[in-house]
């Protein structure tokens, strides 16, 4: 068995030398699912306690308010907002993401604890939507972080969001929602894509 020091570490090249000690340089690790009834039980628990990160990244976040309140009432599905990435398991990307926001999205996504899921809300996350030819918004979210379910529309109504959450639950129950492991396996590819457009990368390579 390899010891911790044998693993390749992240260079954190863009951090000043005085800050390097504050941040971890370990790469993300793949956590293989345990097959069988125990994993099914865990997935049942994960599917029924989806906690959303309270970070409205675009105009689509406006649809989360009616989803929360009594008319659509997402709490009956075990979905509730949390104030910090550490407590959240579901990141809803609310529509268009500018380069400036994408930097915060990457940072928040990496700080969430696995297993974590991403819902792309609105057409902008699929192919750029109406901002497809904009100079400052990304076109495809899945080039930067793994996405489990897309909800198309501009804007999708709360009913569509509930359908998307239902689809995500089914994916989790089927054991297909392996976004965090996908991110760890293809870490270099995701990181290269992120760094291609975020040119002032003044944060550690992996902010977990």
């Amino acid at each position: 068995m390899k010891t911790k020091t044998d693993k390749p570490v992240l260079p954190n090249l863009d951090l000043p030398a005085s800050d390097k000690g504050y941040f971890c340089d370990a790469r993300p690790e793949v956590v293989e699912p345990v097959k069988g009834i125990w994993e099914n039980f865990l997935n049942w628990g994960r599917a029924n306690s989806l906690w959303i990160l309270g970070f409205g990244t675009g105009c689509g976040a406006i649809e989360l308010r009616p989803l929360m309140t009594s008319r659509y009432d997402m709490y009956r599905f075990g979905v509730q907002p949390r104030p910090t990435p550490r407590q959240s398991g579901l990141f809803i990307i609310g529509g268009y993401a500018s380069v400036k926001t994408l930097k915060r999205i990457v940072r928040s996504y990496e700080q969430m604890q696995g297993p974590k899921f991403v819902l792309g809300l609105g057409s902008c996350t699929v192919n750029g939507g109406m901002y497809w030819d904009s100079y400052n918004t990304i076109n495809r979210l899945d080039q930067y972080i793994p996405v489990d379910v897309y909800i198309a529309g501009c804007m999708p109504r709360p009913e569509a969001l509930l359908a998307g959450i239902k689809a995500l639950k089914q994916r989790i129950l089927d054991g297909e929602a392996e976004g965090a492991n996908d991110y760890a396996r293809n870490f270099d590819w995701y990181k290269a894509n992120q760094k291609k457009i975020i040119t002032d990368w003044n944060m550690p390579d992996y902010n977990w």
Partner: protein, 181 residues
Amino acid sequence: MVDLKALRAEMDKRYKVIEISEQRTDLAFLECDKIDVPDAVAYLRDHEGYVHLSFITCVDRLEDEQFEIVYMLRNHEKKHDLGVKTKIDRKNPVMDSMHNHWAAVATYQRELREMFGIEFPGSPGVNRPFALESWAGPPPMRRDFDTRKYSEETYFPRPGRETHDPAEHMKKTQYPGRADL
């Protein structure tokens, strides 16, 4: 009501006014030389009651090789808006900073520098990024900047997207067989 002729007469005594035109009863535009703009704006503020600067904006007149900068002023007592326009060279876009008249102008000037590449020497913090972080391309609001080409080269476009020219699409779907359109 504002008497534009009287205003023009007062302005002509002091500055070289190229044109003054009334668009609505509550909106007029005044054009003067670049060199006169800071003094003219200060005069309008101190003596004609245009105390409020609503915004500064820029029009890219690519065909004339010029930028047109518009200072939109507001007279609250007479409920009148006056836009002070001036044209500057597009190849060497430098404009006098107005931050001594209104401190908040510095923010507009920062934005204009980022979006159009117009320099405002002496304006506080003008070289800091305004909305864009780490922008390396040309100023994005200039008309010769091809935002679609930039987006396709930079942001991994998803293949299979179908787009229609709006005018052609409307002709086909709404007015089929109309040759005169």
